[in-house]
Subunit: 190 residues, 4 copies
């Protein structure tokens, strides 16, 4: 059984909702998959770090703020230099997701960063595995309407509450993404 | 008077429509701004190269195919190693735009590449200067609904004809972007 | 047994040398690993495409020209839209390498593109898994002196022949990288 | 007279040395160019923010930690959402530099982020304007040996003190870069 941890920061609650959907997807494969929330100061407890070290797959999540991950997520990433020195996370499965207010809004920059972080840790990266919905008949709540391959994206209007956004289609995208990452982790663990 | 050239490749006509909108915007500032179309084999004529060499601003455009510029655009970029060796384009203004079928669809990867190309040429990069439309009340035909800062993005459904797409809002975004680049070029020329 | 194919373009022979080193590394794990060379017009034969379709891991290689892959490599990538439509390469292992004349020289831009391509194909990406040699005592021929995580980099001076460059350290880096990718592919196949 | 501010974070002092070299270059054009240091908690004083708001050019600098800017720099970037909302920095000149221990070490990822940040602010980006030293005869202390176009890079071995690194060539690169950015700012201001 491959263990999955979803490690994320959320500023206002939208990314938390997305993280919960990713978790729900992962739990279809690993019933014990769990959330690891980075706090408002960018810190994790020792117990939380231990969950990450023990996991077979780490799914990174952050809002896109000013063009990449939040500073709190980055503080976590900087603190991961400790396991990096010993390459403790080598060959774990990695993946990433992000939410922001704008359709594009440089969300790909955030996913590129999460990928870059995972490569420094010698992890193995998995994307959405989902084709985009991009025909004339496409609707906003289709799976992968926002249209990302490298990781899962969600879009929540700038004046929406966490209850209002992300929309159902983006949450379903997050679930399918979480399930895929957990499946790849399970297959890789053998 | 700053001279503007819009150098682009279009596979099916959607990016050409976007290029024409960028041109229309640029022409509000430089009445003689012109299109320079890369052909289906990725080539430009000597006359077309001369237009680029004489311009004060080059606006690069390409569809996003398989995650970055089309191979025809890249063939043009590779051929630009000739003016690169002598840094002939140094201090020209640069900017970029792209169209693809998907809302995100890695369009930012294309803009990042166009930026990277311009930096090798020691050009000076200008983005859209447009805030995104990302409130709950946002509509598909708002200016910068697709939501890009580094350059102009348009989205045309995968089964749309060039007549059908890009949509009016994306074309208006392209016009405002072309006008901005030409204004910056004029200001920089002094 | 996981099948590995190294699909690459080389303009002057330096990237070919790097590809051969990647292959040598891969063959320690998959004795039948093979090179698939993109020709000077950016084409592959039907037999070559068949090798790619049958492989469990595709290692992409290209020189960095004007900031990303060569146009010939991009023509191959654009032609891969055919297997993309049916997601024929889904869950294959992917990895990438590049050579250029400059220490940095935007080689990371090339690796980012190869990653982006692989994500559109729903492949699973593996990096070098090699720590950089970056102490005061570091020497040019150390493994991963050029210092890349996302894929293997080599640097060959602009006036070096393919016989002279890449240097032995970069070729050893390429071998270790090829071996790692093949090992991950073997583990993933189970 | 165009006003230049070099806003940076330094963890151990290497990036500070690079920032001082950038400043020295800028001061050849703007004698009053100044440093604005982000503190160890990622904060600026009101007086420091006022310097940024009044400047014509902002040169961003950060070490590359775990693949992009330090969390302290990111905290500053997140706090810049306040001037972003009113686009207070629109049409300022922007540029960026970074130091890390490894030759590549994902430094381009950091520069790409600084570029992305500047584009959200509708700034105008200037790179190094320096050709790389990449011949067989190249030496470590040549200008732009590290070889970057989008912004200035320096490399300081992981076990070097700030006194030992960055090396003289990287500092000269930083000076020429600072001078170029100030010149472009002066030309743009007219």
């Amino acid at each position: 059984m491959a263990k999955v941890a979803v490690v994320f920061h959320s500023g206002y609650g939208h990314t938390k909702k997305q993280a919960e959907a990713v978790l729900a997807g992962a739990q279809k494969v690993d019933a014990n998959a769990q959330l690891v929330a980075i706090d408002a100061e960018g810190n994790l407890s020792d117990e939380q770090w231990a969950i990450l070290h023990a996991a077979d797959a780490l799914i990174f999540g952050s809002p896109t703020y000013m063009g990449t991950v939040s500073w709190q997520f980055k503080k976590f990433a900087d603190a991961s230099s400790k396991p990096w020195f010993t390459q403790m996370w080598k060959d774990k499965i990695a993946a990433g997701f992000t939410n922001s207010a704008t359709m594009n809004g440089d969300k790909l920059s955030t996913l590129h960063y999460l990928f870059t972080l995972s490569m420094q840790h010698s992890m193995i990266w998995v994307g959405t595995g989902l084709m985009p919905s991009n025909k004339k008949s496409a609707e906003r709540n289709d799976v992968n309407f926002v249209g990302s391959f490298a990781g899962a994206m969600a879009q929540s209007p700038s004046d929406s509450s966490p209850e209002e956004g992300p929309l159902p289609g983006d949450l379903e995208t997050a679930r399918l993404f979480g399930e895929r990452v957990a499946q790849v982790a399970a297959k890789f663990k053998g």
